[in-house]
């Protein structure tokens, strides 16, 4: 049963996937990698991390009940 989840892309990740925010119906068993591939075919995510509901997650584990997925390039705060 797909539910709508919010996909966010920050900093350089925006250029890689081509959007900063999208609401997308996803099935709980879909993985972040599959979702990105569906939204931005061929996008190179090698240097990016993914977070589900504000926690770092695995690109290849199902998103389960997460409602927000963030695509996170290397950080550089401070």
């Amino acid at each position: 049963m797909p539910v709508e989840i919010q996909i966010l892309a920050f900093a350089q990740a925006r250029d890689i996937v081509g959007f900063s925010s999208r609401a997308v119906p996803c099935a709980p068993e879909e993985t972040p990698r599959a979702i990105v591939e569906r939204l931005a075919p061929g996008a190179l995510i090698t240097h990016l991390r993914v977070a589900l509901d504000c926690e770092y997650a695995d690109w290849d584990a199902p998103i389960g009940s997460a409602r927000e997925m963030a695509i996170i390039p290397p950080v550089s705060g401070g």
């Binding site: 504000c54 770092y56 705060g77 401070g78």
Partner: protein
């Protein structure tokens, strides 16, 4: 440990110091300032962007974890977002503790971890 975390789009205004008890022996403050030379090139400033709810959550978790090793009384963490010109402060951290050792250790570890995994980004402009 009392923790305060702020993200702000405005100039960082450093709050006046006050000690919460008569057992505070050290106040450590760090200001990170935007430099002209950023890597290879000269910049006029940096633009900061954060995934704020996650950044807040990770900074808070780091402070609790590091604070368990180096007990401190109070931590104030302020990160500026948006455009920050050269010479202005992008990050302010204040740590109050009984002894300087804990405060120094917590401060150093906090900035290190900020640079590892807290979702904040800068780009030179």
């Amino acid at each position: 440990m009392k923790i305060e975390i702020h993200f702000t789009g405005e100039h960082i205004v450093i709050p006046p110091t006050a000690w919460p008890s008569r057992e505070i022996g050290a106040c450590l403050e760090f200001q990170g300032i935007v430099r002209e030379q950023e890597g290879e090139s000269a910049v006029a400033g940096l633009h900061y962007e954060a995934y704020e709810p996650m950044a807040r959550r990770l900074v808070e978790r780091h402070l609790h974890e590091v604070g368990a090793l180096h007990p401190c009384a109070v931590v104030l963490f302020i990160h500026r977002l948006g455009w920050v010109p050269v010479g202005e402060v992008s990050l302010f951290i204040r740590v109050l503790s009984a002894h300087r050792g804990e405060g120094l250790a917590l401060l150093a570890a906090t900035v290190d971890r900020l640079k590892q995994d807290v979702p904040i980004w800068k780009r030179g402009l």
